[in-house]
Amino acid sequence: MLDKSAHLNPKLYEPNIEQVPSRDGFGEGLVLAAEENDQIVGLCADLTESTRMQAFKDKFPDRFVEMGVAEQNLVTVASGMASVGKIPFVTSYAMFSPGRNWEQIRTTICYNNQPVKIIGSHAGISVGPDGATHQALEDIAITRVLPNMVVIVPSDTIEAKKATVSIAKNGKPSYLRLSRAEVPVVTTPESPFEVGVANVLTEGQDVAIVACGQMVYVSLLAARELEEHGIKARVINCHTIKPLDKKTILQAVEDCGAIVTVEEHQIAGGLGSAVAEVVSQEFPVPIQMVGISDHFGESGEPQELLEKFGLNKEAIIRAVTKAIRLKRV
């Protein structure tokens, strides 16, 4: 049963639910944040329109910096600007930033502790036809291991907008993971959102499903089907991978006794690993992880790829079934 305090989209289970890429919400949020704070600057590595920095560029041309195809320079220039009091938002595709420039992010932003906001668009398998070279499936892993870094994977465009406004004010190095593809709008402007606080979307005591990004929507679909079979799942939107909301997760494992994680990312090192690190040490229960199993992606339509790589309702239901079975062993 849906938790009313989550204020989810009333059209959640309807076929005509709005579908919007989460990068759109970032673009709107950046303009909003920049109107409030004139120290915000935007840097982009030759992908201004597709990373949705265009609206910021149009509105604040003097605060926009075109970097060309140079992602190492992108983040290190941003580090320098941050040291003088600017709040730089830097955009590219996640594969190239934080992919190509990881060491520069580690040393000059995280170790140096400068509040640069790294915006990785086109993350996940749902990038689609561009194929595996452009499908970042490792970015959560490589950012969450960095001390000082905040890592956020919004579930939809509304949450991406809220996250953008929020990280503009947090004074910390931050990574925001965005989708290229249109994804269902799960939340509403009224939905609670706070960095570091996971949101419980459905009430349930049989199993906890912890998801991020567009897999939150798929998890809700799975939960509805499970309910028809008498299994009540607690779906948790874990939009902040770091700092992880240990309290909400540990409460869920205590109440449910089994947990399933769902992400559009390699199982190795992602949300599932982050959750397992906490659960295995604090309150061990059966855990199953839905994600990419040590594969690269390939070309195809987003939905075809999600099906092929097992990021669908059926895979979540299988994982839930197994987690509950293991609980009874």
Binding site: M67, A78, S79, G80, S83, V84, G85, T108, Y111, N113
Partner: protein, 293 residues
């Protein structure tokens, strides 16, 4: 800080080189050649060029210095101590547990550092970012960036070279320590850089060349750079790695090791290295008598 004459600057540089040897011996690891080679440039900056106040290291109007090749930090730390940023006594904590003087500079531990550095090739970009932010704020302060010649191998460096020229960041002055060595050998064997001056000119930079041990030339070049408005300026400073210690000079074997740690063919025995180095520095390589004799 009142302007010092060249003779006074030279005397400070000798003291700083002695401190570098002693710091490295105490630490038991670290780089020798680069710090000795850059002592004169550092003294020129901290005692003549930079608008900084050691008692107010976070002054928003201060000049910013970025040391891109962080591995030569013994010379940075020794110069900062002599300039009054922290007690000279602290120099012997270099590379020790709990020290503010990390093996490579870390901004958050030591007031007066503008950035964390060490991994080569990313300092120029940071300096460029500071310069652009300064320009956006119509600030009067300048940015100085020191780089090694070895890090001209790095792609990140040339991304920054192109980008800084695009924005004509004339409030930034870069100095390259052209000492011709890197860890694996001579730069022209490891990865040829020449013609370096022409490369920078082709990328839209104003290039000056100086003898990196001649204070008048170093100071003149930094001051000249302030008057160039159409382009960013890079000073190629020709230095002698290991400068002041005969057995270290121009020898890439001394790039990444301290005195007193290893016996090397053709070099003084390890027990003698520090003593000989200090004596050479104090006697200006045998030209004068040491006050310690």
């Amino acid at each position: 800080m009142s302007a010092l004459d060249v003779h006074q600057l030279e005397e400070i540089a000798v003291k700083i080189r002695e401190d570098i040897i002693q710091m490295l011996v105490t630490a038991g690891s670290g780089h020798s050649a680069g710090p000795l080679g850059m002592a004169d440039v550092f003294v020129a900056l901290y005692f003549n060029i930079l608008n900084i106040d050691p008692k107010n290291p976070t002054d928003p109007n201060r000049d910013r210095l970025v040391l891109s090749n962080g591995h030569i930090c013994p010379v940075l730390y020794a110069t900062m101590a002599h300039a009054g940023f922290f007690p000279k006594e602290e120099l012997k904590t270099l590379r020790k547990l709990g020290s503010r003087l990390q093996g490579h500079p870390h901004r958050e531990t030591l007031p007066g550092l503008e950035t964390t550095s060490g991994p080569l090739g990313s300092g120029l970009s940071q300096a460029g970012g500071m310069a652009l932010a300064g320009k956006m704020n119509q600030a009067k302060w300048r940015v100085y960036c020191l780089m090694s010649d070895g890090e001209q191998d790095a792609g990140n460096t040339w991304e920054a070279v192109m980008w800084i020229a695009k924005f004509k960041l004339h409030n930034l002055t870069v100095l390259i320590d052209r000492n011709n060595i890197q860890i694996d050998g001579f730069t022209e064997d490891v990865m040829p850089l020449e013609p370096l001056k022409e490369k920078y000119e082709a990328f839209g930079w104003h290039v000056l060349e100086v003898d990196g041990h001649n204070f008048e030339q170093i100071i003149d070049a930094f001051n000249q750079a302030k008057a160039i408005f159409e382009k960013p300026t890079v000073i190629i400073a020709h230095t002698i790695p290991g400068k002041g210690v005969d057995f270290m000079e121009n020898d890439f074997k001394w790039h990444g090791v301290p005195p007193g740690v290893s016996n090397m063919p053709g070099e003084p025995p390890k027990e003698e290295q520090a003593k000989i180095a200090l004596k050479e520095l104090r006697t200006l390589q045998g030209k004068i008598r040491s006050e310690h004799e």
